[in-house]
């Protein structure tokens, strides 16, 4: 390294930062965002939260109702994740380089996954809402499609990462394709896959809230309802319950992950 390398590096860094600042200013003008206003909002937002988001004894009477909605949301995310995991497993086996049956099927599996993943869950929810109506099925299917997209990619990576040696060893013994998948691929990749499934359940509970606001189901609906009724005590209770549920599931899945990985 000589002096010029340092000079060049410094120049690159400067150009990079100027570009970032320019992009930020452009974005701010596109969205009418004022940084000073934004920063000034934060303290007032927190003061407002401290004053209004208080759970009183009165609100607790709504607890059974909210709990019911929360449980609906949790069940919806679990069901969407596990059913999606089953489909993703097949797509993952078809899509992975190690276990691919043929190139066309593999490309097809990857294409489906990419399509399902890159269209946001909100878009799926709005599309499905048109014909499925306001019930649990809409939210379930929206989460299902998004999860299939994500899990298929994760499963393909897990199977690829496990390596080809076990697959080759079983091929050499004359095992059939399904025997190889059942005895080599599944035992090797199952811990990784379960870890991804647990991660997706956590993510889906948060997405389910968003989907619930759009499709009128579960805890998202409860939040939206109280929010629009300006019943901020109930809003606080709903938020608190979501936080408790998410953290509990996170702790539980961290525990499982620690043992199996």
């Amino acid at each position: 390294m000589n002096e010029n390398t340092f000079k060049k590096r410094k120049l690159q860094t400067t150009v990079f930062f100027i570009a970032i600042i320019a992009v930020s200013f452009f974005s701010a003008s596109m969205t009418d965002f004022n940084l000073i206003d934004g920063i000034l909002t934060i303290p007032s937002a927190f003061i407002w939260m401290g004053e209004n988001l208080i759970i009183t004894a009165d609100t607790l009477s709504k607890l059974p109702n909210i709990m019911e909605k929360l449980i609906e949301t949790i069940f919806m995310s679990i069901a969407a994740t596990t059913t999606a995991a089953i489909l993703s497993f097949f797509l993952g086996v078809a899509g992975s380089k190690t276990t691919a049956v043929n190139g066309v099927l593999s490309a097809f599996a990857r294409l489906i996954a990419s399509f399902a993943r890159n269209i946001p869950v909100v878009a799926w929810a709005l599309i499905l809402l048109l014909s499925f109506g306001q019930n649990s099925m809409t939210g379930f299917l929206a989460l299902f499609v998004g999860t299939v997209g994500f899990l298929t990619r994760a499963f393909i990576e897990s199977i690829d990462e496990a390596g080809i040696s076990a697959f080759e060893a079983l091929t050499a013994t004359g095992a059939t394709y399904f025997q190889i998948v059942a005895k080599a691929v599944i035992p090797q990749c199952l811990p990784q896959m379960i870890s991804w499934i647990l991660f997706m359940i956590e993510t889906n509970i948060r997405s389910a809230t968003l989907v619930g606001i759009l499709t009128g189901t579960g805890i998202g609906y409860a939040f939206d309802l109280y929010y629009k009724m300006l019943d901020y005590q109930a809003v606080a209770l709903v938020t608190l319950l979501i936080v408790v549920a998410v953290i509990m599931i996170e702790l539980l899945s961290n525990h499982v992950r620690k043992v199996i990985l």
Partner: protein, 280 residues
């Protein structure tokens, strides 16, 4: 040759017993998830659902959407502008988030900070992450009014929480010897950060920030639809919820898909270049 990974217990022995703990935990997890799924389907609220009709209708809707996309409530220019607004929301939330997360991560990395400060920040961040983004946006919307400020602040909170975790893990992996060497020359904390920590982690930090940008794009679409933050997400919400214009929904979906795929391709390249071993 890649070596085969063998699971070992604490004493370093290979576990060969049939009913070991790992297997029993895996089995319990699989069985309980299956049971919960079955219960979920029994508990679902099926009000007003005619599954056969709904599936047929959705199929024909999807056909109209994806095979005949068109737009009628906005022009090319407006459509591009709205897409630009969504991308801008994501850009601002990501850049501001990265700046704030950088400092918080310095204080939460155990090798650069006090143990208690680090713990406090980590708990705070876990709490922020547990609240869904849309709830943050809606809560900020009460204080700041609906608009870009509320949306960006709400998205910012989640971006900060995500990036603090990623950044502090990168900082914690900085070579101990390097920090010690600088300390022995009498360099202060800030000098250590600028001359050892930043140069050795900057590519990671930038990659993580870009990965977050990819996530923030789809979050920005969602916020437009669910929290009235504007941009292409709001157009999508209007097209499907108010105009019932499937062709327009199709057009908007294609636009979102295009941006998302470009972003994903870029981030896959980044991941292959900088994190060859990490899957996340």
């Amino acid at each position: 040759m890649d070596s085969v990974y063998v699971k070992r217990n604490k004493a370093g022995r290979i576990n060969i017993k049939a009913g070991n703990k790992v297997n029993s935990v895996i089995n319990t997890t699989v069985i309980s998830l299956t049971l919960l799924t079955v219960i979920a389907f029994l508990l679902f609220d099926y009000t007003g659902l005619d599954i056969g009709r709904a599936v047929v209708e959705t199929a024909s809707n999807l056909k109209t959407m994806f095979l005949q996309p068109a737009f009628s409530h906005f022009t090319w220019r407006e459509g591009l502008y709205q897409l630009g607004v969504t991308i801008s929301l994501a850009v601002l939330a990501t850049i501001l988030g990265a700046i704030i997360a950088f400092f918080l991560a310095l204080w939460s990395a155990v090798n650069l900070s006090n143990r208690w400060v680090s713990k406090a920040i980590k708990i705070f961040v876990a709490f922020i992450r547990a609240v869904p983004t849309v709830l943050w946006v809606l809560i900020f919307a009460i204080a700041a009014g609906l608009g870009s400020e509320a949306a960006i602040l709400g998205m910012l909170f989640h971006s900060v929480a995500y990036l603090v975790k990623a950044f502090s893990e990168a900082f914690e992996e900085v070579d101990k010897g390097m920090l010690e060497a600088l300390k022995s020359t009498g360099a202060g904390w800030w000098q250590t950060v600028t001359h050892a920590v930043i140069p050795s982690t900057s590519t990671y930090l930038l990659s993580w920030t870009f990965l977050r940008f990819e996530i923030n794009f789809s979050v920005a679409v969602a916020m437009g639809a669910a929290a009235g933050a504007g941009g292409i997400g709001f157009e999508l919400f209007m097209a499907s919820g108010f105009y019932f214009d499937l062709r327009e929904v199709g057009f908007i979906t294609y636009a979102i898909l295009l941006v998302a795929i470009v972003l994903e391709m870029m981030s896959t390249k980044l991941k292959q270049r900088y994190f060859p071993s990490a899957v996340k």
